[in-house]
């Protein structure tokens, strides 16, 4: 479903990705972790073309990512993305946030778009908030709206960029529950997260990144019980210590 082959990316002098290769199968759930600045966000931002990779090849759902407009549109149509800061549109109601994409890019009618929006709001369990504005919602609710907004585009792949990092602790679970439910429905997912409980439950593959490289890639049971590299063991001991 996703092929990343020998991809490199630099920001000025900083080498964000060094020769990264990753293969994600249809329906596979990949959890990416690693210290900050390790290139995890850059990797998934390259996959939907938010960042332009300098070198290598990225193919998403059969479309090569080449930064021509047509290729970007084709890739983005099949990829949904959820951001750390939610990035909801503050001037639109929850329902308008959800229907904007379907109305403008999928050319649905208003009635169909509304129906679609309501069905996904029910799926993230906040249909009663449809007519509120984002700022009237809690962080957890906002992130669930953001997930529903992505799902309204009916993507084949969902990317999550630290979706719970900006949330208060008591709101993390409501978002993880929605993500787990989504994983259960067979969606292909790449999640950048430090929620290791969620990773153990949901991931098919764990990826550990450091200094712009994929250091370790393994199924979760092996990854957590017997990490193959010193750096990964060190990182896990820090975040799993308490």
């Amino acid at each position: 479903m996703i092929t990343v082959e020998k991809v490199s990316k630099t920001f000025g002098d900083f080498h964000a990705l060094k020769n990264v290769s990753l293969e994600v199968l249809t329906g596979e759930k990949v959890v990416v972790c690693g210290p900050s600045g390790s290139g995890k966000s850059t990797l998934i931002r390259c996959i939907n073309g938010l960042e332009r990779h300098d070198d290598g090849r990225i193919e998403v759902a059969g479309n090569a990512l080449t930064h021509t407009n047509a290729s970007l549109r084709a890739v983005r149509a099949s990829v949904g993305m959820v951001f750390q800061q939610f990035n909801l549109f503050p001037h639109l109601t929850v329902k308008q946030n959800l229907t904007l994409g379907p109305l403008r890019t999928r050319k649905l009618s208003q009635a169909d778009a509304d129906k679609l929006a309501m069905s996904y709001l029910e799926r993230v369990r906040i249909p009663e908030q449809a007519d509120k504005f984002p700022r009237q919602l809690s962080g957890g609710q906002q992130q669930r709206v953001a997930i529903a907004r992505s799902l309204c585009m009916e993507p084949q792949i969902m990317l999550f960029d630290e979706p719970t990092s900006a949330l208060d602790p008591e709101m993390i679970n409501e978002v993880l529950d929605v993500m787990s439910e989504l994983a259960g429905s067979g969606m292909t997912m790449i999640c950048v997260t430090h929620e290791m409980g969620f990773a153990k439950r949901v991931a098919d593959t764990m990826v550990f990144m450091d200094h712009g490289e994929i250091v370790e890639k393994a199924p979760p049971d092996q990854f957590f019980s017997n990490p193959g590299t010193e750096r990964c063991r060190d990182f896990l001991s820090k975040i799993l210590a308490h």
Binding site: N48, G49, L50, R73, R76, A77, V79, G80, M81, F83, Q85, N87, L88, F89, P90, H91, T93, L100, G101, R104, T105, D131, K132, F133, R135, Q136, A146, R149, S150, C152, M153
Partner: protein, 248 residues
């Protein structure tokens, strides 16, 4: 509040008039027929002042946006176009631009331009450089995450601008746009020099007949004052309305 202040000012002006032998309010005294006619004559300029200012502000906003967008492009030539336009247009005094458009442009192009449209073109052109800077600042103030979210739901550039970025940017720059409207109303007085029958021109014409510049220009000052206070109140009302929209 502003209206209380305005009333205070009017009282003060009338008081001064009553105390001093140099004032001759009869020229604009609504209780005598001649004064009433003069007053009506002065107020008749309001139509063109408003029409001129509002037509020019609409055009300058559209033009300003059209100049601001290339300034935000990643293409250096488009950015250069924005800089050159803003710097050139901003450097020409409005009065000079009015004269040039009215007397110069028809000779250059062979087109006949009415006084009204010469005024509109000059005011709109001149103001568009400022509008462009306001829009650029407003659009730049919108968080990068908004663009990324729009990209992630596959919105095109124009849809991103129309539905996501501009509605938020306009809310932020509304006070500055209001300023420009006030500025435009005031600058429209300059179009009197090419014969536009607006407030200032009417006052000038009446002064020539009545030889009472003090009273007539005082009325003119009050006309602009009232007009602009009303417009300011309107802009503030719009600001509050849009803000409450966002809160729901």
């Amino acid at each position: 509040m502003t209206f209380c202040r305005l009333a205070g000012l009017c009282c003060l002006a009338l008081l001064l008039g009553g105390c001093s032998g140099n004032w001759g309010w009869y020229v604009v005294d609504p209780t005598v027929p001649a004064g009433w006619n003069n007053l009506k004559f002065l107020l008749s300029g309001l139509y063109y002042t408003l029409l001129l200012s509002f037509t020019a502000i609409v055009i300058s906003i559209v033009l300003g946006l059209a100049v601001a967008l290339p300034g935000l492009s990643s293409n250096p030539f488009l950015r250069r176009f924005n800089r050159v336009y803003v710097e050139l247009v901003r450097a020409v005094p409005i009065l000079v631009l009015i004269l040039w458009v009215y007397y110069g442009l028809p000779q250059m192009t062979g087109l006949t331009i009415t006084v009204f449209w010469a005024g509109v073109i000059a005011l709109a052109l001149s103001d568009s450089a400022f509008e462009a800077e306001i829009f650029r600042a407003g659009i730049q103030s919108i968080d990068k995450g908004q663009y990324e979210a729009a990209h992630s739901i596959s919105l095109s550039y124009s849809d991103t601008m129309i539905y996501v970025i501009l509605p938020q940017a306009v809310r932020r720059i509304l006070p500055a746009l209001g300023n420009q409207l006030v500025y435009m109303l005031k600058m429209s007085s300059l179009v009197s020099v090419i014969g536009m029958q607006e407030l200032t021109r009417k006052a000038n014409e009446l002064v020539v007949v009545e030889y009472r510049p003090l009273e007539i220009y005082t009325v003119l000052v009050l006309e602009y004052l009232v007009l602009i206070l009303i417009v300011s109140a309107g802009v503030r009302w719009l600001e509050r309305k849009l803000q409450s929209d966002q809160r729901g």
